[in-house]
């Protein structure tokens, strides 16, 4: 980690150079690439290394998110937040992750349906531990509707059905939970979504 004084010095030099904005844009782009490269690897044996890497870069990721959201780089901000929710979930950064996702959603007008849906899925997942069932339900309903309207496919719809089904379990609505989760399994099987790759499901290219 850079010493604070050196960091400050570098920041002042950057501001004075007139290239600060371009550097921040490249910085955000680099960390979007990193987050999207990490995301599919957070499920398998490589997760130790990638979770650690994202943890080490958490401040840079925060800076990239802040910049994107402040500068109205909506798609970038949504994709970055959407790529990070599994990291926030695995590391227990529930509150912080939820805040970023909500901030990204608040500026989501005009963004792609895929990017919005992914962020909505993250909201549905991250609010669950804090017991905010209503918020999870709202996000999941919105995500399901969006996935159907935008034709995002069965694998994506299946994820929102799982959130709704999970909430039904929590509320003791057994039959409703069964119905939702049966449908979710059927859709996941139809899509042959074994690995659950977010990018493939949401239509982004796999590296």
């Amino acid at each position: 980690m850079m010493l604070e004084t050196i960091h400050e010095f570098a920041r002042e030099k950057l501001e004075g150079s007139g290239e600060a904005e371009e550097v921040r844009r490249r910085h955000a782009g680099y960390f979007l690439d990193l987050a999207e490269e990490a995301e599919p690897r957070l499920r398998g044996p490589e997760d130790v290394e990638w979770l650690e890497r994202l943890e080490e870069e958490h401040d840079n990721l925060r800076a990239a998110l802040s910049w994107a959201l402040e500068r109205g780089e909506v798609e970038l901000g949504l994709r970055l937040a959407g790529a990070l929710w599994m990291f926030w979930n695995a590391r227990g950064h529930y509150s912080e992750g939820h805040r970023w996702l909500e901030q990204a959603l608040a500026k989501a007008n005009g963004a792609s349906a895929a990017a919005r849906a992914k962020v909505l899925e993250g909201v549905g997942r991250l609010v669950f531990p804090s017991g905010e069932v209503d918020q999870a339900l709202i996000a999941a309903h919105e995500g399901l509707e969006l996935s159907e309207q935008a034709g995002l496919g069965g694998a994506v719809a299946a994820r929102f059905l799982r959130i709704l089904g999970t909430m039904a379990i929590v509320r003791g609505e057994d039959d409703r939970a069964k119905e939702l989760l049966e449908e979710s399994l059927i859709l996941s099987r139809e899509a042959d979504d074994k690995w659950g790759s977010q990018r493939r499901s949401y239509g982004w290219e796999i590296r």
Partner: protein, 212 residues
């Protein structure tokens, strides 16, 4: 996030409707997650399967699956996404195998983790667990407060417990009831119910004599 997760959650939804199918679905998910090396989902599947075995009284196998899940979560650096609930399995398995100290250690570790993560649902489970441990040590009033705090928190998050889950606590509730008169029990229970989230966590983590 794919088929393995769908199998996990459909299985979980069927635990109290069609137990055998629930177990088969999770078993299929376990095979798939192992084949893919899908660590987080494998740990969650093992943890849910282990929980049901514990509810059925098969504490040995329930604990074995839960311990494998805990090892996976820990080795892979997963702090959320399941570990926070899993320690509850280990607590129950230890408690029913006659190891209240091991149970206490599991519940306290789980409580500390969940308090840090702000996981209110899991905290309510650990309050219940610690109430059971405290009750075995003669701390009936303290147990009643913890049971009351857990109940209020569960209601606040809208979490419904199934009868088999309630049955896990039942012997310990009976013990607490048998050691207190009705008025004292109700008073302590109400004090627990009135605690805020932070107060309940602090109270549960306090090291005090059993009677406190």
């Amino acid at each position: 996030m794919g088929i393995a997760e769908a199998l996990l959650w459909l299985g979980n939804s069927l635990d109290f409707l069609d137990r055998e199918r629930a177990k088969e679905l999770r078993e299929e998910g376990i095979v798939l997650a192992r084949e893919l090396g899908y660590v987080g989902e494998l740990a969650r599947l093992l943890f849910s399967q282990g929980y049901i075995l514990i509810l059925e009284g098969d504490y040995e196998r329930g604990a074995a699956l839960s311990e494998e899940a805990a090892r996976l979560f820990r080795e892979h650096g997963h702090k959320g996404g399941g570990l926070e609930f899993l320690l509850d399995n280990l607590g129950w398995a230890a408690l029913y195998r006659g190891g209240p100290e091991r149970a206490r250690a599991a519940y306290e570790e789980g409580l500390a983790l969940c308090a840090e993560l702000g996981d209110r649902m899991a905290v309510s489970a650990y309050l219940d667990g610690l109430a059971c441990v405290v009750g075995t040590e003669g701390g009936a009033e303290r147990a009643a407060r913890l049971f009351g705090a857990a109940e209020a928190l569960r209601e606040a998050v809208g979490w419904h417990l199934f009868s088999e889950e309630e049955a896990l606590k039942e012997p310990y509730l009976r013990t607490a009831r048998s050691q207190l008169d009705e008025a004292s029990l109700e008073e302590a229970w109400a004090e627990g119910r009135a605690m805020s989230f932070d107060e309940a966590v602090s109270y549960a983590m306090e090291k005090e004599d059993a009677g406190g």
